[in-house]
């Protein structure tokens, strides 16, 4: 090996006083997550789409003078124009008003399904994880058995029997939907409950509920949020799927699923009737998916580096 002369080395300057200096302000976990999330262009794009969708769902139905449920048999199947911006359907109902009314219902179904999954899943998984032992074993075995039941088939069955309306639809989706959440929460609680701060809280006499609500759930919030974001597009997709099977909401109520299903029948002659709901379903599913992925990457930077 080549010998390197000592003169070739030089001190570039590392002062002892600088060693302890903090170069960056310290960030809380969520601030850090926010910064990482903002750098993800695709996820930010998803957020923008989602905000626009929500704004339109709130104000869209008031932007046109037409009502979503009023038939106008003189103006059926009109192409998109200055008066009817998205055209009209086979009963002359304004597609623009219907589309945004449908946005409300589709988003409502998605959000409600995610919220109910959240409540049941967090309670079930939280208790199972925290109690451990026999209770955990028993609760998770029930979840395992339910998990084996095919989701969509069960949803179809419920809709056939109970009849299609908003409540039964959300109910049917959450019957087995919460299990995924319960499993994730249980896993998180299992790994968190032996941390020192939980012991400290216990020592101070905090109740189980308080420990769960103040310490365990907030710390598991990352994975919970990701799961919820990915539940919403799934529910919107399921709604569209059920509508296609004729198990959707009954008219004049409109959801994107029922509108797309109506549009399917008329695609040869009036393609715009499928176009608007279809594009919106796809955009919404897309937006929630990229937001969910972005959140997951932002919460766990280790995963991000792998991708």
């Amino acid at each position: 090996m080549e010998q390197i002369a000592k003169e070739k080395f030089q001190v570039v300057g590392a002062k002892a006083s600088d060693a302890e200096k903090i170069s960056k302000p310290s960030l809380s976990f969520w601030k850090d997550v926010r910064i990482r999330f903002r750098k993800n262009k695709l996820a930010m794009f998803g957020i923008i789409i989602l905000i626009l969708l929500i704004i339109m769902a709130i104000f869209g139905p008031y932007m046109t003078k037409f009502d979503y449920a009023t038939n106008d048999l003189m103006n059926t199947n009109k192409e998109p124009s200055g008066t009817h911006w998205f055209g009209t359907d086979d009963l002359g109902r304004d597609m623009f008003a219907r589309t945004w009314q449908g946005a409300r219902i589709s988003l409502l179904i998605g959000v409600m399904a995610a919220l109910i999954d959240f409540v049941i899943g967090v309670t079930w998984g939280g208790i199972a994880g925290f109690k451990g032992g026999r209770v955990d074993e028993f609760m998770m075995r029930i979840a395992d058995i339910l998990y084996g039941v095919p989701y969509l088939l069960l949803v179809i069955l419920f809709m056939v029997v109970l009849g299609a309306n908003l409540t039964t639809m959300i109910l049917a989706m959450t019957i087995t939907g919460w299990i995924n959440m319960a499993r994730i929460v249980r896993g998180e609680v299992l790994s968190l409950k032996n941390q020192e701060y939980v012991l400290a809280a216990k020592t101070l006499g905090a109740s189980v509920t308080r420990i769960m609500a103040r310490h365990l759930i907030p710390n598991a919030m990352g994975s919970i949020l990701v799961t919820m974001t990915l539940t919403i597009p799934n529910a919107i997709f399921t709604e569209a799927f059920l509508s296609f099977l004729g198990l959707g909401l009954t008219p004049p109520l409109a959801s994107w699923g029922t509108m797309a299903n109506d549009g399917l029948a008329a695609i040869q002659y009036y393609p715009w009737r499928l176009f608007f709901p279809a594009v919106l379903i796809a955009l919404t599913i897309f937006a929630f998916n990229v937001i969910g992925d972005g959140l997951r990457d932002a919460l766990d930077p280790r995963l991000r580096n792998k991708e």
């Binding site: 058995i145 069955l157 499928l274 796809a282």
Partner: protein, 311 residues
């Protein structure tokens, strides 16, 4: 291994029992009886029909009969179409659905892996972005919309492929594409991320260092390891293909089990709905079990004996 499989079998049977019980009781609380129709039946005929189908027995006897019949692979009669049983429908429609499903799975796996591998090898280059845009598109567009657009563009507007029916190979192309699009996208994403993970491993560096050609390195050391998550995705994949087939078969007018099922839903033919649901559940649970066992056999890192994965 034996312990693991028997444990999984037990859960499978329990899940199955649950779904059979759920279907049975749900169908009992469903509005109307099986013979409700526009024409009011004379009470004598209704009584004899009830006796014929065992509906005059108390519910627990009916339930017991039902369990026994399922165990004998008898899914019951159809109430709307006399002389047709659910078994007939299955024998008639399932081979068609299976052919369509197999073609869709083949397409999804082949193209999905190809896209994923290309994306990973050309990480952050245009090939990667293109592949991932295709994948995001496939995930975001529900299959029935994909099917309708494919039908509209390739069959109605361009006239390249037949619009519907099920006669020869050209009939199968569009349905298989529509059915396989979403799983294809999932597989592409899975393959890409696991390829990237594998590529960052030290043994890949070793392989490069010892002068292995790029092709040999990818074939021998990367793809095999990267495909493990894809294998575990085969379970959900079969579920997706089955539920997807309802929609696709209806749109393309394919006489498979899926379209029979959809028809029975719109006819409210409760016994058929019940029988086909149970059949699909058995099919799904068995295929998921097989996938899990296969996964354990291929991947030596997984110890099946413990039974608790990922804990």
């Amino acid at each position: 291994m034996v312990k693991y499989i028997s444990k999984r079998l037990l859960y499978m049977v329990l899940s199955l029992f649950l779904i059979i019980t759920a279907t049975f009781f749900l169908m009992r609380i469903a509005p109307g009886n099986p013979f409700t129709s526009e024409k009011k039946l004379p009470p004598e005929i209704e009584a004899s029909l009830n006796a014929h189908y065992g509906l005059n027995k108390p519910w627990y006897a009916q339930y017991g009969d039902y369990l026994v019949r399922i165990a004998q692979w008898d899914f019951g009669p159809s109430f709307k179409y006399e002389s047709r049983t659910v078994n007939d429908l299955i024998n008639d429609g399932f081979p068609v659905s299976l052919a369509l499903g197999a073609e869709a799975i083949l397409f999804a796996v082949a193209i999905g892996i190809l896209l994923g591998v290309i994306a990973a090898l050309r990480h952050n280059k245009w090939q990667d972005y293109t592949a991932m845009i295709i994948a995001v598109f496939g995930i975001s567009v529900p299959s029935f919309i994909m099917a309708t657009f494919l039908q509209y563009i390739f069959a109605i507007k361009l006239g390249l492929l037949p619009v519907a029916r099920w006669d020869n190979f050209s009939n199968t192309i569009l349905p298989a594409l529509a059915l396989g699009a979403t799983p294809m996208a999932f597989i592409a994403r899975l393959t890409r991320s696991s390829m990237l993970e594998v590529l960052s491993n030290d043994y890949i560096k070793t392989a490069k260092a010892k002068g292995l050609s790029r092709g040999a390195m990818i074939m021998k050391h990367t793809i095999r390891n990267a495909l493990m998550p894809v294998v575990s995705y085969m379970g959900p994949l079969s579920a997706g293909i089955i539920t997807g087939s309802f929609v696709i078969e209806k749109i393309f007018g394919i006489p498979g089990l899926g379209s029979h099922f959809v028809l029975s839903i719109s006819n409210r033919d409760y016994t058929v709905i019940m029988g086909v649901t149970v059949f699909y559940s058995i099919l799904l649970l068995v295929s998921i079990l097989l996938v899990d066992i296969a996964y354990g056999l291929i991947d030596p890192r997984i110890k099946l004996a413990g039974g608790k994965k990922g804990e």
